[in-house]
Every structure is written in C-alpha cells, then in structure tokens.
Amino acid sequence: MIKINNLNFSYGKHRILDAINLSFEASQIVSLVGPNGSGKSTLLKCLCRILKSTDNTIFIDGKALEHYSRREMAQLIAYVPQQPVLNLAVSVIDAVKIGRSPYIGYTLSKNDENIVFKVIEQLGLTELAFRSLRELSGGERQRVLLSRAIAQQARILLLDEPTSALDLKNQLEMATLLRAIQKQQQLTVIVAIHDLNLAARISDSVVQLKQGKIYAHGRWDETMTEQSILEIYGVQAFLSEVQGFPYMVSLNAVPDRDDPPSGIDDGDLPKRGASK
C-alpha cells in the first residue's frame, strides 16, 4: 500500500535519511525504532509531506505522493506530531472537530458532528469535551490529539512518539486504545516509538533505523535480537519473553564505573567507594 523507493533527505549538508527502501502492507501497525536522530520523525514527516522529499520516491496505492492534492492527502493520512505547540485556550471538542476540516466547507454537517461526537466518546473524552486543553493532563491531551487524527478518518495514521511523554499507566492505555481502534477501523498505522517493549506489544512488524538507513524490517522475532540492539543502540541487552511478547532488559545502559569504556579518562568518573 505504501511504497518508499530510494528516499533520501537532508537538512542542508546533513543527511538524515539515506536510500530508504520500504513497503508497508495495509491494516497493520508498524513500529519505527532507532536511536534519537536515526530519522524516525523525518521519515514520518516525509510520508505526510510536511517535509517535501524528491518526486517519485513515495507511493501510496501506486500513486506518487506529490500527485495527491493537499486535501486528498489530508483525507488519506493523519499525523500526530511528537509535541505540538498547542494553543491551550481551545476546548476539546473544538480541537477534535478540526479533524473534519479536510472534508468540509465552512460549517460542519450533521454527519461531521456525529463523527466528532462518536470519536470523543470512543476515546473516553465525553466528560472533558467542553473543557479547555489547559485543564487537561498530558495523557488526556495526547488522547485529544489522537481523537483529532481519528476524526480525520484517514486510512493511514502516522504517530510520532505518542507515548513518550506519558506515565506507565497512560502509556499502556494509549497503546491498548491504539490497537483497538486500528483493528476496528482497519487502519494502517506507522508509529515512531522509543519503548521497544511497548512497541513489541502493539505492532505487527518493526522497522529498525540506524543513522538514516534501514537496519532491518520484519516481524519482532526476526528483528529484535540482542545482536541488533547492540549494533543499533550500542547497548548490551538481555531478551526474554513475557506473556508471549519479547521483553528486553538493557544490561549496560549505565557504564560500569569500575571499568569505563575506552575514550573516557579514568579521572572523569568517581571511583566506587572513593572518598574525597
């Protein structure tokens, strides 16, 4: 459904995406993982044309992205950025109904209104619908952003770190919600995510990015290995399985104080038990 063909992207001289070749099937959740700066956000922004890539590199349903009109794009792809600078003096319902704007002229039709109400109910925001975003917690705001994207009724949903700013419970709720909605509406979801364990729980397949290049693309059991985590993140990890999902524990996230990695002068780190 989505096909990426030799996609390159640079900011000035700095190459962010390097010869990306990918294809995504419809109605699946795909996780984009990789260290900070590996190009996850940039890839998402290229997919919804916030960043303009070269022509004939991204195809949706066989049609190159630049041949869709802005409105068609908005009806096809919804995007939730990582931490948008929101105007908080807007009510939840006003924020969600903006998702209908690619379909309407000046006023919301009854049908559009119903879609907005339905999404608000589905995401459990009914009680908050007429409050301003200022009065909401981080988790609730994230849900509002997701509601807006769902009200957009696009077949493709792009999410940039939807759980990173949330606490443990909210992360899980967001993940569950996402999975449920994806199943119900048969959405194609591409989600950039840092938490590998959470990613494993929600997604059908994973794209591992390393310095703007695809490291691997495949199912979890194929791609999430101790070897790949070491090569992508430079972190020694231990992999296990919990409730049928892969579960990763990092082992040397904090450098061993008694044996600092090469390149760091001994004097930089306080010795264990050393006193001054």
């Binding site: 916030i50 908005a74 929101l86 006003d94 924020a95 608000i120 007429f130």
Partner: protein, 353 residues
Amino acid sequence: MNELRTTYRTLVRKQLSKIGMTFLLLLLLIAFAGSLGVKNVSILQVFYIILDYLVSDEIFAKVSELDRRIVLYLRLPRIALGVVGGATLAIAGVVMQGIMRNPLVSPFTIGISPAAGFGAAIAVLLGLDLITGGSYWVVLCAFSSALICATMVLTISVFRGAQSTTLILAGIALTYFFGALINTTQFIATEEQLTVIVHWTFGSLNESKWEEVVIILMMLAGTLPILFRYAWCYNALNQGEEIATSLGYGIKSIRIATIVIAVLLTASVVSFTGVIGFVGLVAPHIARFIIGNDHRYLIPFAGIIGALLLVASDTIGRTLFSPVIIPVGIVVAYIGVPMFVHLIISKKQDYFS
C-alpha cells in the same frame, strides 16, 4: 452522544447569540451617535431619516430638512466610516494574530502607521493637498507608502519562512526608520505644513465622505470571503504548524496571503483616517476573550467589536467637549488602553495561548 450534541448545540447557539446581541448593540450605538451632536435629533428621527433614504422619499415626513441634511451628510458618513474602519482594522488584526499565532502581531507592528504618516507628510510637503482633489493625493501617497513599508517587512521576513519573530523585528526596525523619515519631513516643513502633518497623524473621522466608506467596503467585500475561507486554517494553527500542514493547509502561502490582505485593509483605512491603530490590537483581544478562538465566529465578532469601539470613541470625542472635536485616534487609546490592561491582568488572561 445525544448529551454531547445538546451541549454542543447550546454552545453554538450561545456563540451566535453573542454575535447577534453585539450587532444589535452596534445598531443602537449608530442610531444614538447619529442623534448626538451640536443639534440634537432624536434617535427615532435618525431611524426615520435612514428609512426615508433607503425606502423612498417622505414616507415619514416628520423630519425637518436641516435635520435630514445634518444626519445624512455630516453624521452618518462619519459614523459609517467609524463602523467600516473599526471593523476593518479589527478584522485585519485578528487574522494577523491568527496566522502568526502571536498576540503581539497586528498590521501596525509591521510599521504601517508611520509609513502611511510619512506618505501623507510627503504629499503635504509637495503641496499636493492644496491642488484640486488634494485629499485624495494625500490618501494615495499614504497608501502607497504603507504598502512599500509592508512589502519591505514581508520581503525581509519571507527569507526566514515568514516567522513571527522576524516579522516583528523587521517591523520594529522599519517603524523606527519611517519614524525618522516623518521627523525629517517635519523638520523641513513650513509652519502650516507642520500643522497639517501633525493633525493627520492624530487620526480622525473628520470630513468623512460616503466615497471613502464605499471604497473601504469594496476592499472588505473583496477580501473577506478569502479570510473566511482561511478560518479553518487559523483554527488548525491553534494546534501548531505541523498539524495544520498535515490537515492540508499550505501554511506559507496562506500566511503570506493573510498578511498581504491585512496590510491592504489596514492601509486603506489608515490612509483615509490617519493613525487609529490601537483598534487593530485591542479589538481582537476583547473579541477573543468573549467568544473564544474559533475563527469562524471570531472574525465577524472582532469586526463588530472594532466598529463598536471606534464609533463609541468618536462619539465621546466629538460630544465631550463639544463643539471641540477630539481626534478619535486619541480617544480610542484613552478608552482602549485601560480595557486592554484590564484584560492583561485579569485572571482569564489565558484566552490566547
């Protein structure tokens, strides 16, 4: 869902009734302002005169010819210019704030007023105001000078993607620049020219003509549909530029179009009236405070508030020390600044971001 719908409908109705009530208030103010002056005419008579004029002659033949003339040719054009001028300045302000997502921005922060003032001063200096049709030469010079300034500011800021910071900074720089140019013209002007220039910068609705009202109305009629079309884009921008882009809005081009329209509107008003800029900043804020951030309601509502503010100020200005007329540019600041300060320090200040 039904509960949501009921609450939502009530809310929409409330918004619309706020707009309707304020509009009624404006109509009342217009009639009231028309009745006030050196020669008092009753509010009812003002209505008769207007109806008489609109429908046909002398259905309501209770009004004297003198009153009719005073109201039709002296007071109403003045009030009408106040209404369309105030509305235009406020609308220009509200869309500028909306597209830049910045409460500081108005067409005046990009240096339009001193630029228009400079244009007018040049016209006076060249003696253009003394030849036949002179007042239009002043208007034309003010208008072109304002546009030149705006073009310079826009060009500078477009280099940096038309971000609000660059726009404001470039605006401040050019405000000083055109301020210096005005000072230079005042420095070399003769005594009489100086009086004319200074009076122009006060900003007043004196000697308003119907033609001026019509010209501004035409500008509004040409641009307002575009601004209304962008209303959803301004709403989407409440959630940041990336979301607005992903919703299908070409932010950069809409931003430039909005600024150009706001500048044209403001310049056309200011060229006729002189500097009455504060309406363009304070009216949008009052409107936002009352009706919220949905630009579909906000744009017309800000227009009504702007009209109210300007007509009220002008009426106070010409009746308080009658027969002396205090220029409306002065009065509007005296009234608007305390209101604005109140808005800033009141607890509900967070209506913008």
